[in-house]
Symmetry: D2
Subunit: 153 residues, 4 copies
Amino acid sequence: MAARRGGGHPVITDIEHRVNYSETDQMGLVYHANYVIWLDMARTEHLRGTGVTYKEMEEQGVYLAVTDLQVRYRRAARYDDLVRVRCWVREVASRRVTFGYAVERGGGDSAGMPELLATAQTSLMALDRGHSPTRIPEHVRELLAPSSDPVRL
Amino acid sequence: MAARRGGGHPVITDIEHRVNYSETDQMGLVYHANYVIWLDMARTEHLRGTGVTYKEMEEQGVYLAVTDLQVRYRRAARYDDLVRVRCWVREVASRRVTFGYAVERGGGDSAGMPELLATAQTSLMALDRGHSPTRIPEHVRELLAPSSDPVRL
Amino acid sequence: MAARRGGGHPVITDIEHRVNYSETDQMGLVYHANYVIWLDMARTEHLRGTGVTYKEMEEQGVYLAVTDLQVRYRRAARYDDLVRVRCWVREVASRRVTFGYAVERGGGDSAGMPELLATAQTSLMALDRGHSPTRIPEHVRELLAPSSDPVRL
Amino acid sequence: MAARRGGGHPVITDIEHRVNYSETDQMGLVYHANYVIWLDMARTEHLRGTGVTYKEMEEQGVYLAVTDLQVRYRRAARYDDLVRVRCWVREVASRRVTFGYAVERGGGDSAGMPELLATAQTSLMALDRGHSPTRIPEHVRELLAPSSDPVRL
C-alpha cells in the first residue's frame, strides 16, 4: 500500500484481497454483503494513505458513519480470487464525504485485462462521541481531495 | 410469519430480528453491512409467504442474484434491539425483480411509534444453474405482485 | 422464549434460528464459524430468561469475554434449516462461567427425531470497563445455576 | 507468503491480517467468532504453500470439513491491529488432518516482542462430492507433513 503522502492531492488507493471460503455462499459465488466489507477495507487504507488513520480520527473523537450505500454487482467474485478494490473521494463537504469504489479481478479476462466485478459508492457523515453530527476536522478535510471517477459508477 | 397465501395479491411481509453482539461494532452501533443480511432474511420470508421458498426455486434450477443494492441509513440500530424488517415487491419483469425494504425499531420513540432506521432496495436477476440469465418461471412471477411503497425509499 | 424466572433454578434455554443464505458456503453447507454466533444468540437468551439481560450487565459495567471455545461438528446444517440451539450453564465460579450448547435440526431424521448437529462449550471471564478481570456480581451469579448436560458434549 | 515448496517438509506458514472495523464489537475488541475465519485464511495459505491449493482439491472432488474446533483466547485483538496467524499441521491420518494455529500481534509488548493473542486447533475430515467421508489423496497427504508445535496450545 502507498506510503503516507503530504495530502491534498487527488489519489486513488487500491488494496488486494484474497477471497476466503467464509465469503462464499452455496451459489458458489461471493455472498453480496461481503463486498460491503471490502469497501470499508479499501476506505480505511485510502485514509491511511492520505496521512490520517481512521483509528486516529476516532481517538480524536470523530467518527464516520455510513449513511448511504449503493453497490452495482456486474460479475461475480469467486473463492480464492485475488480481487483489487480501488477507492477514491468523490465529494467532500463540511460534515460529509462520499467515496467511490471499483472492485476488479486481476487479469481475469482472455486478454489478461482486469474484469470489473462491481462499482459502489458510500456517503459517510461525521459524528462526535455522542453520535451527533459534527464537522470533519479541517486537517482531515484537506486530505480528502476528490478525484474524478476512474470508471463509470 | 404469515401463512402461505394463494399468491398474486400485493403483500408486505415483516420479520423480527433481535440484534446480536456479533452485529455490533466498536462505535456501539450495528455495523452497516449487517443490514444487508437482514434484507435477505426478510426477502426469504416474503417469498415463503407468497407460496414458494427460495430453496425450492434453487432446487428447480432458478437462482436469484443481487445486481443492485441501495441502502439509506437513517438511525442506528443497537445491540439487543428487536428490529422489524418489512419487505415487498416494487417491480417485476421477465428476468428481474426489485424488492423494497423498511427497517424499523418497534415502539422506539417517546410516543411509542416505530422508528424508521433504514430503507433499502435490491434488484435481483434470475440465473440458471450455469449462472446465465434466465426467465423467472411463470408460477413464481405470478406470486411476485408489486405493492406500492409503504414508506418513501 | 421463556419468561423471566425467579432465578437460581437450573434451566436449559432454547432458541430457534432459520439458516440464512449468508451463512452457507460453496460446499452447500453452513460455514462453521457461523455456529459460534448461534451459541452467542442462545447464551444471550439464556441470560434474559434467568432474569438479567447481558445488555443490563454491560450497563452496570460487567462484560463477559469468551476465553475458551470448543465446538464439535457432527452433521452439517443447511440453507433454510430451522435449527434449535439449547444452552445451559455448566459451571460457575467467582470470575468465570462456562456454558454448554447443543445444536439440533428439528424432526430431521426418518423417525422425526431431532438430529444433533453440533455440541459446544464456551468459557467466559468477567471484565470491568477497563477490560480487567472482575467478579461476577452476586445477583448475576445466583441466576447462573448449573444444569447437568442434556447431551454428551 | 512463501513460494511453493516441494512438499513433505514440516513447515509453519504465516499470514498477516489487518483488523477491519467489521470485525470489532461494542466491547471495542475483535468479536471472537472472527478469529475462526482467520484460522481458515491461514490454513488456506498453508496448503497453497505446500504445493496444492484448496481450490484445486475441491476441483478434484475432495472437500475438507471442520469437525472439531478449539480456540483459547488470551489477549484481545483490536481495530486496525496487524495480526499474524501462524498455521501448521499437527497430525495427519488417512481421512483426517489436524492443524494448529497461533495468533499474534506484532511488536505489541513493551520490549517489541510479539504478543500471543490466541492459540487454536481444528480437525478436518475429507469428504467426497456427496459429502461422504473419503481418503485424503496420497499426493496431498504427502504435503501435509506434521510440525512440532511452535507454541504451547
